[in-house]
Amino acid sequence: MSTQAKTRVTVNVNGRDMSAEVEPRTLLIHFLRENLNLTGPHIGCDTSHCGACTVDLDGKSVKSCTVFAVQAEGSKVLTIEGMAAADGSLHPLQAAFHEHHGLQCGFCTPGMITRAYRLLQENPKPSDAEIRMGISGNLCRCTGYQNIVKAISAAADVMASQPRKEAAE
C-alpha cells in the first residue's frame, strides 16, 4: 500500500458547498472531521456499530465511517453542526436532549440527535418502542437510553405542534 492520488470532492454540508482534496480511500467521517473541521460527529468503533459518526446523507442516516468521501460527491450532508436554525435557535431535539437530560459525556450525542432527526422525518409520532428500535444503531454508554427516548418523544410533540423550522440544510 502507499499513499494514493488525491481527488477533489465537493459536498453540500449543512447548506454550503465544501470541497477538499482526498484520497479515494478517505472515509466520509475523516473528510468531515479532518478536512472540513466539523468535529461534531465522532469515531467510537471500527465496525459501524456505535453510530457516533452518524450523519444525514441525502435524506438518510448513514454511519460516515462506512461511506467513502468520494461516494458523497455532489450529495447533501447534514451534521450536528447544521441542526440549529439559521438564527441560531436550537432544534427541538437539541432543546429536548438538554431539558430531559438525554446526554452525559456527550460523545454519542451528535450522532444520536442526527439519527433522531431522520427518525422523526420518517415517523413523526413514534412510540417508545419505535424510538428504541429507531436509535438501535447508536450506542450510548452513559444514559441507559431512558432519557434519550423521553427527549425524542418530547421533541416529536414539540415538532408536531410548531410550524416546522428547517434545519440549516
Binding site: 480511500r25 473541521n37 461534531g40 468503533c45 441542526m83 459525556c105 452513559c142 432519557n147
Partner: protein, 806 residues
C-alpha cells in the same frame, strides 16, 4: 424605589442550589457538536502515531525490521524498545508497584501488546506503515488459565522479575505469583466454620470485562523545545497524577509539564491508568519536536487498555439453622494479566475487596487474595465502581442467595435477618472498615413493598407449577441485591497513589460583579461536575449557580487533586467545595457586618443575602457584598473574595441500596426478558436529583451489559477473542430495560454536606441483582450458581442441563 424583595422560595429557585434538578451547563456545547475531545484537537505540524502489535500471547521477539516501513513516504519515525532504552522509558512503573513494558522488550506477553510505534503524517499512512513493519517471533507456551499459573511446570512469564521474589506487596511464592493479601482473623473464622451447623461454599467467578467508554483512549503530546515545556492533552481521569508520573519518568520538571484533560467521552475506569500510547506520543514529540497524536481504535481499546474484574472468588458462609450468619471465608484468585497495572490505592493490592462482608452483621471473617500473571492484557481497573467493590458485592450477594437456598429460606428474609441495624452505626466490620451510616432494613422493606414482593413470589410459585403442567415454557426469576459501597478514597492514613495522599481540592474565586469561577482537582467524564459543584457553592454562598463557572482538568490552573474515579468526586472534592464555599461565606459575613454597621454576631445568612437578626429589611445581598469585597472591606481585612480547600476525608463514605429484578426466561431459546427493575439508592444528601437519576440509569445499563453479555476471553493459544463491538456486548436501546428509580436519604455524618457519591452504585448493585434473578429462575431445580455472563447461549445451556429442553 427598589423592587419588592422576592420571597424566600423565589430566591431559592433563582439560586438553583443543592436539591434542585438543575439542567446541565455542559449540555450546550455537546448538543451543538462543539465538545472538545482529544481527537478533535488539531495542531500545526501534528503527526499521528500508531502501534505495531503482537499477534502472539507469548513469544520471544527475534528481530524487528523497520526498513520497508521507514521507507514509506510520510513516515517520520519508528520507535521500538531499543530506541526507548537509552531514555530508560522502555518500561514504566504501574500504579500497583509493578513495571509494564512500554514497547515489548525482547518478548511479548499478551496478544496485541505494543511492539513498535510508527509516527507518520496522517493516520492512514501510519496504518500502512504498521503493516510494513516485519517482526520475527519465536512462539512460547502460553499461560491462559489462572488456576494453572502457579503450577511447578508453568511457563515463567515475567523473566524481568523471575528472581525477585520480594514483590511490591510481600513475598511471591512463584515467578507467576504477584502477591498474597490477607485480612481478618483466620483462626477465629476457621473455628466458627468447624462448629457451624450450616455451611455453604461456591466458586463465584466474575469474568474479564472492559469498561468500553464510547470514546477510546487518546493523547496529543506537544514538546516545546525552546521553552522546555511539555503539554499533553489526553483522556485522563486523573490529570495531576499523570503530570507527576510524567515528570518522574521523563525527568522534565513538574512545572514544565502541563496536562490537559479536555472533554472526555466516558471513562468508567478505563482512563485512570497510564498507557504505552500516552508515553509513546510524549517520547515521539520530544524526539521529533512536533505535536504527536495517538488515538486507539476500538479493537486496541478492548484488547490492550484496562480490563476489569477477572476475579475467581471461592466464598463460604457459616450460619445457624435458622439463618443467622456466623462467619465468612473467602479466597480470591485474581488474574492480573501480564503486568500488575491495577489502579488501586497503593496499599491495597486487591482494592477494597475486604468490603466483602457486605451489608450484613458478620461476626468473623477471613479473606485471602492471590494475584497471578497470565498471558493476557494488563489492567484491573475499577469499571464504574470503587476498587474491586463490584467484585466484592457480587461475591457476597451471590453467596447469601446460595445460603438461602440451602436453608430453604426466602432470600429477602435471610437478608433482613442479617442486615446491620441502624443503631449499630458507625459499624466496624470484621474485615476492618468503619461504615458511616445506614438505614438498611428501611431501604429493603421499602423496595419489597414497592414491587409487591410477596405477590411476586406467589406468582413465581404458580408459574413453576404451570410450567410443570406444560402450560408455559417460561421460568420466572426474582433477584435481590442489597449492596453497600465503599467510596470516596480516601483518608491519607490509608489511601495514597504512589505516595500521594488521596485528598482533593477546590478553589473558588468570586468576581466583583457577583460571578465566580471554581476549579477542582477532579475531572468529569460525563458526571456533570460543571453543574453540580456550582449548586454546592450556590447553596453555601448565595451566589446563583448560573453565575458560577466550573473548570477542571488543566494542571496549570486547577488545584492538585487525585481525579475522578471510585465515586470520589462528591465525597472528596465535593467536600472541599463546600468547605471552600463556607470560607467565602465567612468572609462575606464579616463584610456584611461592616456594611450594615453591626456586629457579626447580629448577622444571619439567608439564601442569597445577609440580614440583621430580627430586622429583615436591613440586608446586604451577596451580589452587593461581592462588589464591596473589592472596594469596601473592614479595616485590616485583605481585599478580594477567594478560598482554597484541600480536603483529607476522615473516612470513606458508604452508599447503599436495595435492587430488585424480575425477569422471565424462555427455556427453549434462552432469551431473558427483564420485566421490571427497581433500584432504590441511598447516596446521602442529594445534590441534583436529575443527575443522580441519570447516573443510576447509566450504571444499571452497564450492569445489565456485564451480567447478560460482556466477556473478554482468550483461547488456549492466547488469542484474545471478541474485542470488537460486533462481539462485545454493549446494550442498545432495544435490549435495555426500563428502569424504576427510588431513594432514601441517610446523610454521611462525617461529610460536610452529608453526600456519599452515587455514580457507581448501580453497577455494584445491578450485576448481582440480574445474576441472582437469572439463577433464581432455576433455583427450584437445585441450581445454586451459574457463570456470568448470562447470555442466551449460557441460559439455554442451563435449561438443557436442568433437563428442561432436549
Amino acid at each position: 424605589m427598589n423592587a419588592p424583595t422576592p420571597s424566600r422560595a423565589e430566591r431559592e429557585a433563582a439560586l438553583k442550589g443543592m436539591g434542585f434538578a438543575r439542567r446541565r451547563t455542559e449540555d450546550a456545547r455537546f448538543i451543538q457538536g462543539k465538545g472538545n475531545y482529544v481527537d478533535d484537537l488539531k495542531l500545526p505540524g501534528m503527526l499521528f502515531g500508531d502501534f505495531v502489535r503482537s499477534p502472539y500471547g507469548h513469544a520471544r521477539i527475534k528481530k524487528i525490521d523497520i526498513s520497508k516501513a521507514a521507507a514509506l513516504p510520510g513516515v517520520k519515525a519508528i520507535l521500538t524498545a531499543n530506541d526507548l532504552k537509552p531514555l530508560k522509558l522502555h518500561w514504566m512503573p504501574t500504579l500497583a508497584g509493578d513495571v509494564q513494558a512500554v514497547l515489548a522488550d525482547e518478548k511479548v506477553l499478551f496478544a496485541n501488546q505494543e511492539v513498535a510505534f510508527v509516527i507518520a503524517e496522517d493516520r492512514y499512512i501510519a496504518a500502512d506503515a504498521v503493516e510494513l513493519v516485519e517482526v520475527e517471533y519465536e512462539p512460547l507456551p502460553p499461560l491462559v488459565d489462572p488456576f494453572k499459573s502457579m503450577a511447578p511446570d508453568a511457563p515463567i512469564l515475567r523473566e524481568d522479575i523471575k528472581d525477585k521474589l520480594d514483590g511490591a506487596h510481600g513475598k511471591r511464592r512463584h515467578p507467576n505469583h504477584i502477591f498474597e493479601w490477607t485480612v481478618g482473623d483466620k483462626a477465629a473464622t476457621d473455628k466458627v466454620f468447624a462448629d457451624a451447623p450450616v455451611k455453604v461454599k461456591e466458586l463465584i467467578s466474575y469474568q474479564r470485562v472492559h469498561p468500553a467508554p464510547l470514546e477510546t483512549c487518546a493523547s496529543v503530546a506537544s514538546m516545546d523545545k525552546i521553552r522546555g515545556e511539555l503539554t499533553v492533552w489526553g483522556t485522563f481521569q486523573a490529570p495531576h497524577v499523570v503530570r507527576t508520573v510524567a515528570s518522574i519518568l521523563s525527568g522534565i520538571p513538574e512545572h514544565k509539564i502541563r496536562i490537559i484533560s479536555p472533554d472526555i467521552g466516558g471513562g468508567f475506569g478505563n482512563k485512570v491508568g497510564v498507557y504505552p500510547g500516552y508515553v509513546c506520543s510524549i517520547v515521539a514529540s520530544i524526539v521529533l519536536g512536533v505535536p504527536v497524536k495517538w488515538v486507539e481504535d476500538r479493537i486496541e481499546n478492548l484488547s490492550a487498555t484496562a480490563f476489569a474484574r477477572d476475579y475467581h472468588m471461592t466464598a463460604e458462609l457459616a450460619a445457624t439453622a435458622d439463618g443467622k450468619i456466623l462467619g465468612l471465608r473467602c479466597h480470591v484468585l485474581a488474574d492480573h494479566g501480564a503486568f500488575d497495572a491495577c489502579a488501586d490505592p497503593s496499599k491495597y493490592p486487591a482494592g477494597f475487596f475486604n468490603i466483602v462482608t457486605g451489608s450484613y452483621d458478620i461476626p468473623v471473617a477471613h479473606l485471602a487474595v492471590d494475584g497471578v500473571y497470565t498471558n493476557k492484557a494488563p489492567g484491573g481497573v475499577a469499571y464504574r465502581c470503587s476498587f474491586r467493590v463490584t467484585e466484592a458485592a457480587y461475591c457476597i450477594e451471590r453467596i447469601v442467595d446460595v445460603l438461602a437456598l440451602k436453608l430453604n429460606m426466602d432470600p429477602a428474609e435471610l437478608r433482613l435477618k442479617n442486615l446491620i441495624q441502624p443503631q449499630q452505626f458507625p459499624y466496624k466490620s470484621a474485615l476492618g472498615w468503619e461504615y458511616d451510616s445506614g438505614e438498611y432494613p428501611t431501604a429493603l422493606k421499602k423496595a419489597m413493598q414497592t414491587v409487591g414482593y410477596p405477590a411476586l413470589r406467589a406468582e413465581q410459585k404458580q408459574k413453576r407449577e404451570a410450567f410443570k403442567r406444560g402450560e408455559t415454557r417460561e421460568l420466572m426469576g426474582i433477584g435481590i441485591a442489597f449492596f453497600t459501597e465503599i467510596v470516596g478514597a480516601g483518608p491519607s492514613r490509608n489511601c495514597d497513589i504512589l505516595g500521594i495522599a488521596m485528598f482533593d481540592s477546590a478553589e473558588i474565586r468570586v468576581h466583583p460583579t457577583g460571578a465566580a469561577i471554581a476549579r477542582f482537582g477532579t475531572k468529569s467524564q460525563g458526571q456533570a461536575h460543571e453543574t453540580t459543584y456550582a449548586q454546592i457553592i450556590a447553596t453555601e454562598t448565595g451566589i446563583p449557580a448560573d453565575m458560577i463557572a466550573v473548570e477542571e482538568g488543566d494542571t496549570s490552573t486547577a488545584p492538585y487533586g487525585l481525579g475522578t474515579y471510585g465515586s470520589r468526586s462528591t465525597p472528596v472534592a465535593g467536600a472541599a467545595c463546600a468547605r471552600a464555599a463556607r470560607k467565602i461565606q465567612a468572609k462575606a459575613k464579616k463584610i456584611a457586618a461592616h456594611l450594615l454597621e453591626v456586629s457579626e454576631n447580629d448577622i444571619e445568612f439567608d439564601v442569597d443575602r445577609f440580614q440583621v437578626k430580627g430586622l429583615p429589611e436591613k440586608v446586604k445581598t451577596m451580589k452587593e457584598i461581592c462588589w464591596a469585597a473589592y472596594n469596601n472591606v473592614p479595616p485590616g481585612m485583605e481585599p478580594g473574595l477567594e478560598a482554597v480547600d484541600y480536603y483529607d476525608p476522615p473516612n470513606m463514605t458508604y452508599p447503599f441500596g436495595a435492587y430488585i429484578c424480575v425477569l422471565d426466561i424462555d427455556v427453549d431459546t434462552g432469551a431473558v426478558k427483564v420485566r421490571r427493575f427497581y433500584a432504590l439508592d441511598d447516596c446521602g444528601t442529594r445534590i441534583n436529583p436529575m443527575v443522580i437519576e441519570g447516573q443510576v440509569h447509566g450504571g444499571l445499563t452497564e450492569a445489565f451489559g456485564i451480567a447478560m453479555g460482556q466477556e473478554i476471553t482468550y483461547d488456549a493459544t492466547g488469542n484474545v477473542q471478541g474485542v470488537t463491538l460486533m462481539d462485545y456486548f454493549l446494550p442498545t436501546a432495544v435490549e435495555t430495560p426500563v428502569w424504576e428509580t427510588d431513594h432514601t436519604v441517610t446523610p454521611s455524618p462525617h461529610h460536610p454536606i452529608g453526600a456519599k457519591g452515587v455514580g457507581e452504585s448501580p453497577n455494584v448493585g445491578g450485576v448481582p441483582a440480574f445474576s441472582n434473578a437469572v439463577i433464581d429462575a432455576f433455583a427450584h431445580l437445585g441450581v445454586t450458581h451459574l457463570q456470568m455472563p448470562h447470555d442466551q447461549w449460557r441460559v439455554w445451556k442451563a435449561a438443557e442441563k436442568a433437563g428442561l429442553v432436549s
